[in-house]
Amino acid sequence: MASEQTHSGNPKVDIEYRKKKSAEEMRYQIVSFSMMIFLTLVAFIAVGYGDFSAWFIVPFILLLAIVQVVFQLYYFMHMSHKGHEAPALFLYSGLLVGLITILTFMTIIWW
């Protein structure tokens, strides 16, 4: 959103402000991108190292995956920006419904 329409011809658009915003946005993207590569490496190491038990590795990798999804949504798909309230609401509602389903299946079908 911030990087669009720099040449809109609208006099209200402050080019300096836009540039600063874009630079800031770029920095976040690079930081989160390198974090994501780092987390992926950590996940591979956790499995490849061989000494950890599955009871540690599985929850650990799932945790890393959640962090990755948050990075993806908030930094690459701009959910941190204004105007994404409706998609966020529906994503979280869907997540809630899905988690309740999984919880029920884990507890009363495969108990």
Binding site: A86, S93, V97, I100, T104, F105, I109
Partner: protein, 622 residues
């Protein structure tokens, strides 16, 4: 003179409807197709009641009875009630928020054609070796043992029509979020729009579990997998869960729009604003939310264990709270109002005690311990017919009378409408009230006959008599529709004279671009606000300008036709060597149509300002 309003021949009209992307015409398509399936489902209901009229009856055989009851339920829920609601959502919701169409007109058409071909496919089973016979719930332990292709028709047909419904739901969501007129904030939206919004969100979350369940069933039955095959480590209870995770929200998908319709009717004919608007919105959202926490109350006797049963019982009872809020708000809307008992208002008033009846038995069924007595008895049949007929069908009939002038420009005859109402109301209570007691006396549901002198004879006969009342009422409604269409007496913008919301500010039926200029919304019930200040029309929110419109397209029909053909291929793949070829050819038609849609640029067209200026007699002013 406008160049748009030309008389068209019959062929041109058919082609227009086959290719249309206009939400008002798609609404009419949904109304016709849904009405057709409603009559089919009604016929099946009559066969059920005739068979059960007297003990030891042999009107139909046991096997055929199973097919009829399965198709009655499946048709009524998926192919009649939902499409008829979609008809009114399509026709009215964009007008209520001041939009010129839905967000994705092409997808709207695609959704309709998928539903239509899915429904036709399912009903062709009657002619191709027998209909599905495992109940509308199609529990896997039954459906896996069912011989012939009936269940395959069920799974493939619902998969296709379900995809259409899902598209429709997403389309309505995007429309309501993005296309509201200037000033139309969320808390100024009419209740029918709100309930469309919540019902669409429920569709978005509830249909994927059904899709998954149906795919597992398709794979098991047609492609040799073992998801539900207990001998190979499968588990049939998974189907029950997946089905009810969809099936319970489905009840609210049906009833919430009906609540919305009644909210509009109560406010209009009490000539008061809706009592407790914000609590109505809150209750609608809360019912939608809780609707996902309660599905296992359909499975109390499956053996989930006392803790699971208790949790789902309490969650279910909680839904009575927001529903009660709504009932009281409707009563308080009428309180002190200047009430006009038109046909829609009669339905609305009769809906309150009828639906509360269904709600009370719902709370009874929700207490898990008592449910062991009621389960699979006619008590349950009585309960859900009170909810679905007393809530949804009353809502649909009310909406037919209420919105008919807006959709077709003519008023249905009020006298005939009132006759329909009284016959239907009496018939409905006659049919289903006695079934509570039949159930309590031990009559199981889904049985094809019963023995004499067990205390069930009189009750079943009364129930059948009631069904004939409802059938006659429906015939009078159809007669009313024919007479009204033949007379063709056109009405103005606001034929009920007390319209409160935006749809009554534009001509009936609206011009194809709906609003010449988008209206400025200054509060809840925007037209009423303008009327109170002595104005007859809305204040425009924009200068008159070119309007961008989408082109008609035949592609939605072709995409759906391809899947219809492919379904036959999947069905007959193991019987005939040509099955695989048909499957591939059908998918080919679909993919090719999608490819054409993707590469062909279609920018639509503009209605120019000059044409709109000359179009004064057609109104359409904001």
């Amino acid at each position: 003179m406008s160049t748009y309003a030309q008389k068209k021949g019959f062929g041109a009209t058919v082609w227009d409807y086959l290719t249309t992307v206009d939400h008002k015409k798609i609404a009419i398509l949904y109304l016709i197709a849904g009405g057709l399936f409603f009559v089919l489902g009604g016929l099946e209901a009559m066969f059920i009641r005739i068979q059960l009229a007297v003990p030891n009856n042999d009107f139909v055989s046991a096997g055929l009875y199973n097919e009829i009851l399965t198709m009655h339920g499946t048709t009524m829920i998926f192919l009649a009630a939902m499409p008829l609601l979609f008809a009114f959502m399509n026709a009215i919701m964009p007008l209520q928020i001041g939009a010129r169409d839905v967000a994705f007109p092409f997808v709207n058409a695609l959704g309709f054609w998928l539903f239509f071909f899915g429904g036709i496919f399912l009903n062709l089973s009657w002619f191709l070796g027998g209909a599905p016979d495992a109940g509308w719930t199609s529990y896997a332990s039954l459906s896996m043992a069912s011989e012939g292709h009936g269940i395959d028709f069920y799974a493939l047909g619902l998969q296709i029509s379900g995809a259409g419904t899902l598209m429709g739901g997403i389309n309505f969501l995007v429309t309501i979020i993005n296309m509201r007129a200037p000033g139309m904030t969320y808390m100024r939206m009419p209740l029918f729009t709100w309930s469309t919004f919540v019902a669409s969100a429920l569709i978005l979350f509830a249909f994927p579990p059904l899709t998954v369940g149906l795919f597992l069933l398709i794979f098991d039955r047609m492609f040799g997998s073992n998801f539900f095959d207990v001998a190979n480590g499968g588990n049939t209870v998974i189907w029950e869960h997946l089905f009810w995770i969809f099936g319970h929200p489905e009840v609210y998908i049906l009833v919430l729009p009906a609540f919305g319709i009644f909210s509009e009717i109560f406010a209009t004919f009490s000539r008061k604003r809706l009592f407790g608007y914000s609590s109505m919105v809150f209750a609608t959202v809360l019912i939608g939310f809780l609707g996902f926490m309660v599905w296992a109350h359909h499975m109390f006797t499956t053996g989930l264990g006392p803790i699971a049963n208790a949790i789902f019982a309490v969650a279910t009872m909680a839904i009575a709270v927001p529903t009660g809020i709504k009932i009281f708000n409707w009563l308080f809307t009428m309180w002190g109002g200047s009430i006009k008992f038109t046909t829609p208002m009669l339905y609305a008033v009769a809906f309150i005690p009828s639906f509360v009846g269904g709600g009370v038995t719902g709370v009874m069924l929700a207490s898990a311990a008592a449910d062991y007595q009621y389960h699979d008895s006619y008590f349950v049949v009585a309960h859900f017919h009170y909810v679905i007929v007393g809530g949804v069908v009353f809502g649909l009939l009310a909406a037919t009378h209420f919105y008919w002038p807006k959709m077709f420009g003519t008023m249905l005859n009020e006298t005939l409408g009132k006759i329909t109402f009284w016959l239907f109301l009496i018939g409905f209570h006659l049919t289903f009230f006695i079934q509570h007691f039949l159930g309590l006396m031990g009559m199981p549901r889904r049985i094809f006959t019963f023995l004499p002198n067990q205390g069930l004879d009189a009750g079943n006969l009364i129930s059948t008599v009631g069904a004939f009342f409802m059938a006659i009422a429906t015939l009078i409604l159809l007669y009313n529709i024919v007479v009204t269409s033949v007379k063709n007496e056109k009405v103005g913008n606001d034929p009920w004279e007390d319209g409160r919301t935006l749809e009554w500010a534009i001509p009936s039926p609206p011009p194809f671009y709906n609003f010449k200029q988008l209206p400025l919304v200054r509060g809840l019930d925007p037209l009423w606000i303008e009327k109170m200040e002595g104005k007859k029309t809305m204040t425009p929110a924009e200068p008159l300008g070119d309007i961008h419109m989408p082109n008609n397209s035949f592609t939605p029909f072709m995409i759906s036709l391809g899947l219809f053909v492919a379904a036959f291929g999947a069905l007959y793949r193991e019987d005939y060597h040509w099955g695989v070829m048909v499957l591939i050819a059908g998918l080919g038609i679909t993919l090719l149509s999608m490819f054409v849609r993707s590469v062909k640029d279609d920018h639509g067209f503009h209605i120019h300002k000059e044409d709109l200026l000359n179009d004064d007699d057609k109104g359409g002013k904001a």
